[in-house]
């Protein structure tokens, strides 16, 4: 989350060209948004949306032809940290009846337990 904020404000602090800062100004808020949503256990997997964004940060310097090494290093640092943080998996504290896939799968914890309750 903080990394997204850094992307958002780094261009102003470090004085990048308009093209580079536009990129950071678009990707930064997106990364921050997904990170905030992923704080809650129920929507934890939203963090995975940040993977393609981090990948984009790796190739963006070539595609957009960055002329600024500080910007390049900053983008790479953010991309690497975002990917590393994706692997941090806090302990599961709650049960969600099988989670989101349970909406389209059958034989899920929620339907099993609902069936048991009916028999009691």
């Amino acid at each position: 989350m903080l990394l997204g904020l850094w992307l958002m404000f780094a261009p102003d602090l470090l004085d990048f060209s308009k093209k580079i800062s536009n990129n950071a100004h678009i990707v930064g808020p997106l990364i921050a948004t997904f990170a905030i949503i992923a704080i809650w256990e129920c929507t934890r997997n939203v963090r995975l949306f940040n993977l393609p964004l981090a990948a984009w940060l790796f190739i963006a310097p070539w595609i957009l032809q960055y002329d600024n090494n500080v910007a390049l290093l900053s983008d790479y640092a953010v991309a690497i940290l975002v990917v590393l943080l994706l692997f941090v998996k806090p302990k599961r504290q709650h049960r969600f009846g099988g989670g989101w896939p349970a909406i389209w799968k059958s034989k899920t914890p929620h339907s099993r337990e609902a069936g048991n309750a009916a028999r009691l």
Binding site: P29, A32, I36, I37, T43, H110, E113
Partner: protein, 185 residues
């Protein structure tokens, strides 16, 4: 019985007041800030509070995008937060089952509001080279609201799935008809 309100396969009730109250409070704060900003956009207030970015707020609140629609964007935002607060407050603590329609509506109301706010945050620097403190605050609020409200939507969706599996009418279950509520857990 509190136990009876927990969805099957869960260990807490996502529709309990302790789960919903923080979201409602956030929505009300968002509504108040957005209402304040729209007072400026309607020309009722002549200045707006901006501690960090100089003329940023003025630039953003008078930008073409903020007036792209007949109603200024802050007024639309205020309306959005109000809808969120009301949709968050309607219904009892078992509404994931008794009123799936309001839970799903609540989820749909929360999602786009967050999406639009993030879009507006992107537009601020890219198109206008300016930031607006209170606009950012409301955007953060709308994004923060998404995560904690989705668990309730999930519980309702799983309930609808169980209705489908049991062969009962999904339509009647969605609107909370009693015959479905009594037969499906």
């Amino acid at each position: 019985m509190a136990n009876d309100e927990i969805p099957p396969g869960w260990d807490y009730n996502p529709a309990s007041w302790s789960q919903r109250m923080p979201i409602i409070v956030l929505a009300i704060i968002g509504f108040l800030i957005a209402a304040y900003l729209s007072l400026y956009q309607f020309g009722i207030l002549s200045a707006v509070w901006e501690p960090f970015f100089g003329n940023g707020s003025i630039t953003i609140l008078n930008s073409p995008i903020s007036h792209a629609l007949p109603i200024p964007d802050a007024a639309l935002g205020a309306f959005g937060y109000l809808v969120d607060a009301v949709a968050g407050a309607v219904g009892g603590t078992k509404r994931w089952k008794t009123m799936p329609w309001i839970v799903v509506f609540f989820g749909i109301a929360i999602g786009p509001l967050g999406f639009v706010s993030v879009m507006l945050v992107v537009f601020q620097p890219v198109l206008f080279d300016a930031w607006c403190t209170l606009c950012l605050v409301t955007a953060v609020i709308s994004v923060v609201m998404i995560g904690p409200s989705m668990d309730e939507v999930l519980a309702s969706m799983q309930y609808l799935k169980r209705i489908k599996q049991s062969g009962k009418s999904l339509w009647r279950g969605f609107w909370g008809y009693k015959d479905v509520i009594d037969k499906v857990n």
